[in-house]
């Protein structure tokens, strides 16, 4: 592989996963914190709160996964190599 392409791919992979993790990371932290706070306030609604948290975390994490796929494809199955 051309060293220029290889270094650009590694850089792009690092940026892809790094940038893709920022937003969902903040969102997941906020959601989890609020959910735990909600459970502490209303233990009788624990199941409902955890269910909603599961759905929201799965939705948010898929955004990280998109970046992760781009990064892994660039590293292991680079179409420009």
């Amino acid at each position: 592989m051309n060293p220029m392409i290889a270094s650009a791919s590694v850089l792009a992979a690092a940026l892809a996963i790094g940038l893709a993790a920022i937003g969902p990371g903040i969102g997941q932290g906020n959601a989890s914190g609020s959910a735990v706070e909600g459970i502490a306030r209303q233990p009788e609604a624990e199941g409902k709160i955890r269910g909603t948290l599961l759905l929201t975390l799965a939705f948010m994490e898929s955004l990280t996964i998109y970046g992760l796929v781009i990064a892994l494809v660039l590293l292991f199955a680079n179409p420009f190599a």
Binding site: Q28, S32, A35, V36, I39, R41, Q42, P43, E44, A45, E46, G47, K48, R50, G51, L53, L54, L55, L57, A58, F59, E61, S62, T64, I65, L68, V69, L72, V73, F76, A77
Partner: protein, 135 residues
Amino acid sequence: MSDVSNSDTVSPPAGDSMQEFYQLQRELLLITLGLTGIIFICVWYFYSTNIALNYLLGACTGVVYLKLLARNVERLGREKAQTGKSHIAVFVGLIIVATQWNQLHVMPVFLGFLTYKGTLLIYTFRSLMSTPGDR
């Protein structure tokens, strides 16, 4: 606004309130398996057995991912202070195997993995449609 500190309200035991969460888990699993079966047959019919098996591998990993995520959410605030990352490791392993093994293709595996997202969308829309008077 309801008064949550009212002493008259009797809070159910934790096991009872968690039944709703376990029910959601079961429902998500069943919808994912149903979707996987339907899409697997369609892909088998319109593409090839190899692509269909690729899809199936991705979908099965998606189910494992969802189970691990649910387990992490269940443990959140009890045993662990934050959600773990074991479910991400499952996905990373899948994509690395898909890129390294010649028999596997990245796209069908990845789209198979995303079946769980279709499940979440179906569940969310269904719950929105079924409870219009709750909000």
